[in-house]
Symmetry: C2
Subunit: 142 residues, 2 copies
């Protein structure tokens, strides 16, 4: 029922798909493109599984992020947010509007140069995280 890539990742990490984990996964799949906090995931998952607890949500999000089913990031130093991560949107970055808080996404293209440079310096780059703080077109007009 789930995408083959997902079930493969789960199996490769011999990772049991309990009903709690399925509920979390369903929430994340149903909200692609959104950046949900653990509390928001709990709220949504309770609709499918009313007795699920916050600890399980945290544990599940953490593990899904570890096997790259989810992308975990923090935008404003307050709390982590999670989004479903397929191979299309894997490396993308965020523009956070300083006025309305809206988050939009940027493709990862021009960073490859910089990474290659660092690898020539002897680094082995595993990941990067780029955020732009800006006024979005709507807010800029005001």
């Amino acid at each position: 029922m789930y995408d083959k890539i997902i079930t493969t990742k789960l199996k490769d990490n011999n990772y049991k798909l309990t009903e709690q984990r399925a509920a979390v996964l369903d929430v994340m799949l149903a909200n692609q493109g959104q950046h949900l906090s653990a509390e928001e995931v709990l709220y949504l998952a309770k609709k499918e599984l009313p007795n699920i607890g916050i600890a399980t949500v945290y544990r599940t999000l953490e593990r899904f992020a570890a096997i790259n089913i989810l992308y975990k990031t923090m935008f404003a130093g307050d709390k982590y947010r999670y989004e479903f991560c397929n191979d299309r949107n894997h490396q993308h970055h965020h523009i956070i509007c300083l006025d309305c808080g809206k988050i939009t996404e940027v493709e990862d293209v021009l960073l490859n140069n910089l990474e290659h440079y660092l690898e020539n310096q002897g680094y082995q780059v595993v990941d990067h995280d780029l955020k732009f703080y800006a006024y979005c077109p709507e807010c800029k007009k005001k």
Copy 2:
């Protein structure tokens, strides 16, 4: 006694330089290139001013960051770190070694392209924050 740029920024924001604030500023000036937590700043500032309190340190760091005397950033989702910010190192980015945790710095050069692109899209980019997670040359050898 302080750089003219600093005193100007303080005056422009009619910002009184109390002995507590001077102690914090001294700590940051004496530790350029380091990324200090509030707790570490407190520890160091107490050597100059033993009665300074943690609340004042937080308040002072916050305000110095607001007028761009300090650069405030968070590396691993745990706590904020601060570093002195002059006009030379203003826009730079960090490589965090996933093994030893060492932080090194990257000049900000290749991001201008991306920013220009976003500005053409109607954004007004104010700041950006880029972190690389990598193995540093020493740790890569192991």
